[in-house]
């Protein structure tokens, strides 16, 4: 209900100040972004800290930008801003699809892309969408080094990422492909806009109206956290996009290569069914969106 005692609160204005504040707190510090996960953890006393470093005023970490052939999203960009930036996101609509349906308005007014990726909750929307989008994640290590990691390497299982103590996630970026490309994400939950029981994100870059140059499919709702489905991706790359049965085979492959587990609400086989259904639907949406860019 109430957080354990906290000694200090800092609200740095720059990334460097943030890192310095963290260092000064001598290990027992935590960054807070939107607080939509961290406050739950602090209030239920799963986590506590001596110093809390609030990233909300670090303006360099905020914003969606599409320039120089790259789409960049700052870690402190709120869901609300992501959802409102569909145009700037270009092919990476899946991230807006995800942001648009995270929790509720109040959560979207606070929660951030960086917070969601750093937390990497076992069932969350942004990590799976970023995985399908093939994002690279920029990190400022505690010792000041900057690093860029493929999202596949960044996400390391539920509540685990490549971030170590004191590392700051700066943002993600994705190249704008040369060919028409797009992506889509949808989740299914017990109530409307609940945490995903299953969510599927699909990215396609078209070679022609009926074939892919590149495809990525990622699924969330699995016990091991979000995961790509390499066999389904391979099938999609080889598929005739105009042939419903070949798309259906991709979706089926995705369901088959994911090991689902029952949760207290929904059984494992239904989750497999959901993967197949959502995958087929998201392939359709991503392809349709990508095709609409063809002249």
């Amino acid at each position: 209900m109430y957080p354990a005692s906290i000694e200090q609160y800092h609200r740095p204005a720059t990334v460097d100040e943030a890192r310095a504040a963290y260092a000064a707190a001598g290990g027992e510090a935590m960054y807070i972004a939107g607080g939509m996960s961290l406050m739950q953890a602090m209030k239920s006393r799963v986590l506590s800290c001596r110093a809390l470093i609030d990233l909300s005023q670090v303006s360099e970490l905020r914003g969606v930008e599409n320039s120089g052939g790259r789409v960049r999203i700052g870690a402190m960009t709120r869901y609300r801003a992501v959802a409102e930036s569909r145009a700037a996101l270009g092919p990476y609509q899946a991230l807006a699809d995800a942001a648009d349906r995270v929790g509720d308005r109040q959560v979207r007014n606070r929660g951030t892309v960086g917070g969601s990726l750093s937390w990497n909750f076992v069932v969350a929307c942004t990590p799976v969408a970023a995985l399908a989008c093939g994002a690279s994640v920029s990190i400022l290590r505690a010792d000041g080094r900057r690093e860029s990691l493929a999202i596949d390497d960044f996400l390391q299982g539920p509540m685990t990422t490549a971030l170590s103590e004191g590392d700051l996630l700066l943002g993600i970026e994705m190249p704008v492909p040369a060919n028409p490309a797009s992506s889509a994400y949808r989740k299914w939950g017990v109530v409307v806009d609940a945490l995903p029981t299953i969510g599927v994100a699909v990215f396609v870059e078209l070679a022609s109206a009926s074939s892919c140059r590149n495809a990525r499919i990622a699924v969330v709702g699995l016990p091991g956290g979000p995961a790509r489905t390499p066999r389904a991706e391979a099938r999609l790359k080889a598929a005739d996009l105009g042939d419903p049965s070949s798309l259906a085979a991709c979706a089926k492959a995705a369901a088959e290569e994911c090991d689902t587990a029952a949760d207290p609400w929904i059984g494992a086989s239904y989750k497999s069914h959901l993967i197949e259904r959502l995958c087929l639907e998201m392939i359709g949406t991503a392809v349709r969106r990508a095709r609409s860019q063809m002249s």
Partner: protein, 801 residues
């Protein structure tokens, strides 16, 4: 009557309560600043379902600065009288386990209070809770009521010697011989019936979770006595119990329910452990003490209802006319430690209402309530009856399929037409027009046209379906029934006081939580006394100034309390007539006088005789030359006792579209046809119906208290105990029938209580109807797409193999 019914009763009058609530000026329990710097209590709750308490180490917690006391069961067992006490036990042959506010020696469910921490503020109290170390010796958890019935099952209450807390045959009569004869008769009906439906249904554990949790603030002064503010539906009962437990005369105990309460729906009716502990602590420490329940505590300890298995059988003829019914009800009673209700009163009452609105003279119904290591069932709207409604309404659809008829026709054919009547369990149905309410519903839907649309849709590969559910529910329970069931009276009471300026104060001992009593009771008094509702102030829930009342539950407001208000207003009116007639030398015949527009009029005079303000001032302030027998009092307390229970009837219909590929379904329309007697305020009635239907939908589709096999409760946050949000539910269409009730002064009945009952049946019948080509039958709640999908898969496998 000469009173020109000016029309406050029945008016769509917007609520008196709203303005303060809309501007943030409501005064809920946690908002009250009635005591200075109260100490704050937090409970340490059991982390396991069933265990012996080996040790509790409170030393670290007690040392924390700001902590005033840490108490455990061992500290209080000789200091506080345990429950049951005389006023917390019903007159029913059940087991009433002895229990204290804190677990003594053993814990019986995940979430049971084991220690209480008292600190100067809530943050510190929570710090201290973290520091309390409890060592448990695990006992085998009992989580399945049917297994708990086996001879070799471990026991939840070893001192009682059985896990059966209550069992009863509800049909046939009171003696075993009568019951056996009845059973034989029902058996022979089944043996010769054309059609038999035999199914096992399950209505899962879920409830009504009000948005405001429970809580209590108490202070004690040896001179002034005990003062308790608490979130409760029944302040007078609480006073009685506190008096009994702590040996304080009742007139030294004042319990106040705050004017504003954030919902209750039954949950705030029982006598629970925690408020007793709060009272003890304030006495012990000599300082005011406050406890505001967290949502986590709430979802662990209370709000859990339903949870019944029904082994239900119907015998019918070829036409679908029901000839007999058997039902074995097993209720998962939880630890059964809960003053007044003990977990089983709800399923007992639900079992008594199993025949619902259907004419089934030959029934064999029994109930067994079984203790398990879960939280005790606590009352929830549709009191005990939701699983039974679901079971029978589902069974009727199955019957309709067997006899090849439309479920609507089978239902109509079996509805009770002769009222009043006693149903097979002895419950008396007083009045109403079930068939009329039903016909209104099916005409509104136009069933034949729907069937056409359904066929056309199927041809296009779309699956729409129609389902019905009905409910007869009591609006308030008369003393005659309530005394045996809960050991408490059922009458409604109200005091009306007029003041010398001609305005009225109504005092009622109930404690409403959103039902709009300040509006409806004011409408009634205003109408009878010719005033505006603005001239009437309604004060609720304080034992010091209100007449004894059993509380706000079971839709008593519109029936019992409203009737008492009307009686009191009429009594005052008669008295005023006497004085006015005397003053104007007129015959004191009430029929000659009209109370209207804040004045009093005579049939033969064009001008008003006097204003209300004038006559009230004259009686109270100038009590000279009064007619013989009159005095200066313009106060009256009325008690309304119904001779018969008043039953309200509702018939619901759901229309859904279901997807045979995914098992998903969408509610296209939901229609409720209700007969609540004369309506005091349609706005409020509609609000009650809509809210109740959505609670029923939320129960049916989303909400579920889940315990794992170790008895760990997995659903103690609102992330996991999922409630319908605004995007999950449809608009509800409402049809009113309004058959006046003959034995209440205004023709009103209560309503609202039973509304969720028919919802799961209507919804599931609609889903099964939509997917009828695939041959699925839903038997278990909740209904979620994955379950429907699994049924479809199984049906396909059957069809294939």
């Amino acid at each position: 009557m000469t009173t020109v019914e000016k029309g406050w009763i029945g008016a769509r009058y917007t609520r008196r309560e709203d303005l303060r609530l809309l501007t943030g000026k409501g005064q809920y329990l946690a908002d009250l600043r009635v005591v200075r710097d109260p100490l704050v209590v937090k409970f340490v709750r059991s982390s396991v379902a069933h265990a012996l308490i080996k040790s509790i180490d409170v030393s670290a917690a007690a040392k924390l600065p700001g902590v005033v006391a840490v108490l455990t069961g061992a500290d209080i067992r000789d200091k506080i009288r345990p429950l049951p006490t005389p006023s917390t036990v019903p007159l029913l042959p059940g087991h009433y386990p002895t229990h204290w506010p804190l677990a003594v020696e053993r814990v019986r469910f995940h979430g049971e209070p084991v220690a209480a921490v008292v600190a100067t503020d809530k943050y510190t109290a929570e710090d201290a809770v973290e520091l309390v170390q409890v060592e448990y010796e695990d006992l085998p958890p009992i989580t399945d009521p049917e297994k708990a019935l086996l001879a070799d099952s471990p026991l939840v209450h070893p001192d009682i010697g059985t896990n059966v807390m209550f069992s009863m045959v509800l049909t046939g009569g009171l003696t075993e011989a009568e019951q056996a004869a009845n059973k034989a008769r029902v058996d022979s009906i089944f043996a010769t019936a054309d059609v038999v439906v035999k199914e096992r249904f399950y209505g899962h554990r879920c409830g009504v979770m009000p948005l405001e949790t429970r809580g209590a603030v108490a202070s004690f002064d040896p001179e002034a006595g005990l003062r308790v503010w608490m979130s409760t539906q029944r302040p007078h009962i609480d006073r009685l119990v506190f008096s009994e437990l702590f040996d304080i005369p009742q007139n030294q105990v004042q319990v106040s329910a705050p004017r504003d309460q954030g919902g209750a729906f039954g949950v705030k009716a029982p006598v629970y452990r925690e408020p007793i502990m709060i009272v003890y602590l304030t006495k012990l420490l000599g300082r005011p003490v406050q406890w505001i329940e967290t949502r986590e505590e709430h979802l662990m300890a209370v709000s859990q209802e339903r949870d019944q298995i029904h082994e239900l059988e119907l015998a019918a003829d070829k036409q679908g006319r029901i000839l007999g019914l058997r039902d074995r009800v097993i209720a998962d009673n939880g630890d059964s430690c809960e003053g007044v209700f003990w977990g089983f009163i709800m399923p007992f009452y639900g079992a008594a209402l199993v025949p619902n609105a259907y004419h089934i003279p030959d029934c064999d119904i029994s109930i067994t309530a079984v203790a398990t290591n879960k939280s005790a069932l606590s009352p929830a709207r549709a009191f005990g009856s939701l699983p039974g409604r679901f079971a029978l309404d589902r069974a009727i659809d199955m019957l309709a399929r067997k006899v090849g008829k439309d479920a609507a026709d089978v239902r109509r054919m079996n509805l009770i037409t002769q009222l009043p009547c006693n149903i097979a369990t002895g419950v008396h149905y007083d009045s109403g027009n079930f068939v009329g309410v039903w016909d209104k519903l099916v005409q509104h839907i136009d069933v034949p046209r729907f069937r056409q649309e359904q066929r056309a849709a199927r041809a296009e590969g779309r699956y729409i379906g129609l389902g019905f559910g009905v409910a007869v529910h009591a609006s308030g329970v008369a003393s005659e029934a309530l005394v045996p069931m809960e050991g408490q009276p059922g009458y409604g009471s109200a005091t009306l006081k007029m003041d010398s300026s001609g305005t009225v104060t109504v005092f009622e001992g109930d404690a409403p939580q959103g039902q709009g009593h300040e509006t409806t009771m004011a409408q009634i008094a205003a109408e009878i006394l010719g005033l505006d509702p603005e001239d009437v102030t309604v004060r609720v829930g304080d034992t010091n100034n209100t007449p004894f009342a059993s509380g706000t539950f079971g839709a008593r407001g519109g029936s019992y309390t409203a009737s008492a208000v009307a009686m009191a207003a009429k009594a005052i009116r008669d008295k005023i007539v006497k004085v006015v007639a005397h003053d104007h030398k007129l015959e004191p015949d009430p029929a000659h006088f009209r109370f209207e527009a804040k004045s009093i009029w005579h049939k033969d005079r064009a001008e008003a005789l006097t204003s209300m303000a004038g006559v009230c001032n004259r009686i109270i302030m100038k009590p000279l030359d009064l007619p013989a027998g009159a005095d200066a009092s313009l106060e009256h307390t009325a008690f309304f006792e119904a001779k018969e229970p008043m039953m309200a009837f509702s018939a619901h219909a759901a229309i859904v579209e279901a997807d045979p590929a995914s098992g998903e379904f969408r509610i296209l329309r939901y229609i409720s046809s209700e007969d609540v007697g004369r309506v005091i305020n349609p706005l409020i009635v509609e609000g009650q119906v809509r809210g109740g239907v959505v609670q029923g939908l939320s129960n049916a589709m989303f909400e579920e208290f889940i315990y794992d096999e170790n008895g760990q409760q997995l659903t103690s946050s609102m992330e996991n105990y999922m409630l319908a949000n605004a995007a999950d539910v449809p608009n509800i269409e409402i049809l009113h029938a309004d058959t006046p009730c003959e034995h209440t002064p205004l023709g009103t009945r209560g309503m609202g209580e039973g509304v969720p009952g028919p919802v799961p049946g209507a919804l599931c019948n609609a889903i099964c109807d939509a997917l009828e080509p695939f041959g699925i039958e839903i038997r278990d709640l909740p209904v979620r797409p994955d379950r429907v999908w699994a049924l479809l898969q199984a049906a396909r496998a059957r069809a294939a193999g």
